[in-house]
Symmetry: C2
Subunit: 107 residues, 2 copies
DNA sequence: TATATTTGCAACCATATAGTTGCATATTAA
DNA sequence: TTAATATGCAACTATATGGTTGCAAATATA
């Protein structure tokens, strides 16, 4: 099984999925699948697959209501990516300690 | 062609590539391919492919010296991931404005 | 010079991924 | 009740991905 961080990174590595996710975030409300797929050129089933990947990564939540399935964005898991990045931040942020001082602290 | 951000995200979405990259970062020095591959269970050619992906994403630089090819980590492109994340940060950081205020500003 | 080391290239394999279409089913509306 | 809508499931396709092995070429060492 893939790790959580791997699932999240793979989910956002696809440009179409990033678009879907972003659309859901700015919509700021749950949207049924057909409505989402109406905004994209690919088929509904293609969208459904992407939604599944996003759901597995925890980036969206899906709730069934009647015949519809409402998708809601949940950006919280992106915190994990942010945390992963944190270590490397020192390399582009001059205000942070650089690598050599990290290595010094480790020794 | 894939966008820069897509290349970077795909590069770090693979756990083996994250490991290779991290090893090069903490090594803080250029390492020849054979030396890198010695630290992993997969074949040298497998490593070479991963290095190519990392190089295409700009996350490592490779320099030939004699028969050896020295790989050096370059975390700078991760800044792009950081920038992409920035927009969603408000959802996990309470000190930032929330989505509704973003939407208000947009209106 | 002969040998060992480092590497690239090419072919190959299995599986994952991104997409499609067709059809059945459940729910809602006329 | 009949028709329209929203969805899932399954099969299929093409290409990408992560890995392997064998071999040739370039460079360094004995």
């Amino acid at each position: 099984m893939q790790s959580k961080i791997t699932k999240i990174l793979k989910a956002i590595a696809d440009p179409t999925r990033r678009e879907i996710f972003h659309a859901l975030v700015v919509a700021a409300t749950a949207m049924p699948i057909t409505q989402i797929s109406g905004q994209f050129a690919i088929s509904r089933q293609g969208i459904t697959k992407h939604l599944k990947t996003l759901e597995d990564a925890g980036l969206i939540q899906i709730q069934t209501k009647g015949r519809e399935r409402f998708c809601l964005a949940d950006p919280l898991p992106l915190q994990e990516v942010n945390h992963w990045l944190k270590f490397y931040e020192r390399f582009w942020d001059d205000t942070l300690q650089n690598l050599s001082s990290y290595l010094d602290n480790k020794a």
